[in-house]
């Protein structure tokens, strides 16, 4: 009895429509990333907890400084804490960090300091070009070799519309890491034929960011 109406509705459901254009997709994504959602609410609590731990450790450090028989951390203490904080936010992504690295005592408890508080100053501007080309189900990336000092690894990272704005990235964002600094290319199996953004980061000891490539877009 309702067959004709069902068919009419199904035709509507199968109607060809134009897609949302890339610029608009990016704009909505940026808005979402700026939106306060469950992740931010959850991190608020842990940020308070992390701040409490830092406070306790700060007091402990101050007490140790008062003891003339202990080594003084010196004026570099503040810098050490700042650079250590991103390392502590890595979660499962600690496999790439040399295990011999001495981690400052403030690092372990601070598992979720909101990235927006410390990240902007730690991401350098893009200083070299990254290119990407799809060949079948693979993406081929190419970049110039890094010739400066202090580099230990290349890290290929998938980024959002905003580019690389958090360091270190979550584990799932890291496509390739290599300590072979003579390498200037990488091949990644990636079947999804959708727009994705990529960046190569040159990192030094303690995963310090040294240089960042331009954003390459794969399709």
């Amino acid at each position: 009895m309702n067959d004709d109406l069902e068919q009419r509705l199904q035709r509507l459901g199968a109607a060809k429509v134009s897609g949302l254009d890339d610029a608009r997709v990016d704009a909505i994504e940026r808005r979402l990333l700026a939106e306060s959602g469950p992740a931010r609410r959850a991190s608020w609590i842990t940020a308070v907890a992390a701040a409490s731990v830092l406070l306790v450790l700060g007091v402990a450090l101050a007490l140790r400084r008062d003891d003339p028989n202990t080594l003084q951390p010196g004026t570099s203490t503040a810098t050490t804490v700042t650079t250590a904080t991103p390392t502590s936010t890595t979660g499962p992504n600690t496999t790439a960090v040399p295990t011999t690295t001495v981690t400052p005592t403030t690092a372990p408890p601070t598992t979720s300091v909101p990235p927006t508080t410390s990240v902007p100053n730690t991401i350098p501007d893009a200083s070299f070009a990254l290119t990407v080309e799809r060949v079948g189900n693979e993406l081929h990336f190419t970049w110039p070799r890094y010739s400066g000092d202090g580099a230990t690894q290349y890290v290929l990272v998938r980024v959002d519309a905003d580019g690389l704005n958090t360091w270190p990235p979550t584990d799932a964002r890291v496509a390739v890491t290599t300590a072979d600094l003579d390498t200037n290319s990488a091949t990644v199996a990636f079947r999804l034929q959708e727009r994705r953004r990529w960046v190569v980061a040159v990192i030094g000891a303690n995963r310090r960011l040294i240089a960042v490539s331009s954003v390459a877009i794969s399709t």
């Binding site: 509507l12 134009s18 949302l20 979402l32 939106e35 469950p38 992740a39 799932a172 727009r195």
Partner: protein, 204 residues
């Protein structure tokens, strides 16, 4: 030599870890990640934005409203992701996104109804028809959409999810919190109401 790939130069499992991006993660794990990590939510968004937009485009009949519905759908999804429970649908979280989009479409339609007289709505529909005509690949059905907009919310929802989003009876039933049998009855009544609404509109 200059461009030897990383895979061929570095022993696997040493300094190299091959692709483990979100592109390769199954949706279940991605949803769990997205509850804690906004960039994982961005990946969910990337995976489904065009499907949600296409649904909204078909259901609203115009690109502007579909754009709004798509943006609001993902904003709402982000805020309520902690409450999302997989329904077992073959569409995964997309079925949930369709439900959010449907609610938003109904909300927008209700707001428009409050703001405009019947004559104004007809004028707006003419404008929409013009927009559709300009977008030559579109094949929407303005009269049908107008009749759907006039249905009670529950009828509107069940028909939108079942026929325009393409969910099966079990999925729609799960999202409405009713049995499959009740869903079939509801669908039947909704179709009858839609038929009446269409007849009324054609005799106006």
């Amino acid at each position: 030599m200059m461009t030897a790939t990383v895979a061929s130069r570095v022993p696997r499992g040493d300094n190299l870890r091959l692709m483990n991006s979100y592109g390769e993660i199954d949706e279940h794990a991605l949803v769990d990640l997205a509850r804690r990590d906004r960039s994982a939510f961005a990946e969910l968004y990337r995976r489904h934005v065009q499907d949600v937009y296409a649904f909204a485009r078909r259901r609203t009949g115009n690109a502007h409203d579909a754009d709004d519905v798509t943006a609001v759908t993902f904003e709402r999804a982000l805020r309520s992701l902690n409450r999302y429970k997989p329904s077992g649908s073959s569409l995964g979280i997309l079925a949930w996104l369709y439900r959010i989009a449907t609610n938003e479409i109904i909300d927008q339609s209700r707001k428009r109804g409050r703001q405009q007289t019947a004559r104004g709505q007809r004028a707006l529909r003419l404008l929409h028809n013009d927009a559709v005509a300009a977008d030559t690949v579109d094949d929407t059905d303005p009269l049908l959409l107008a009749a759907l907009d006039g249905l009670p919310d529950r009828y509107n929802t069940v028909l939108s999810l079942r026929y325009i989003a393409g969910l099966d009876v079990a999925d729609v039933a799960a999202h409405l919190g009713i049995s499959d049998g009740n869903c079939a009855v509801l669908t039947h009544r909704a179709l009858a109401a839609l038929r009446t609404a269409l007849q009324e509109r054609t005799t106006e």
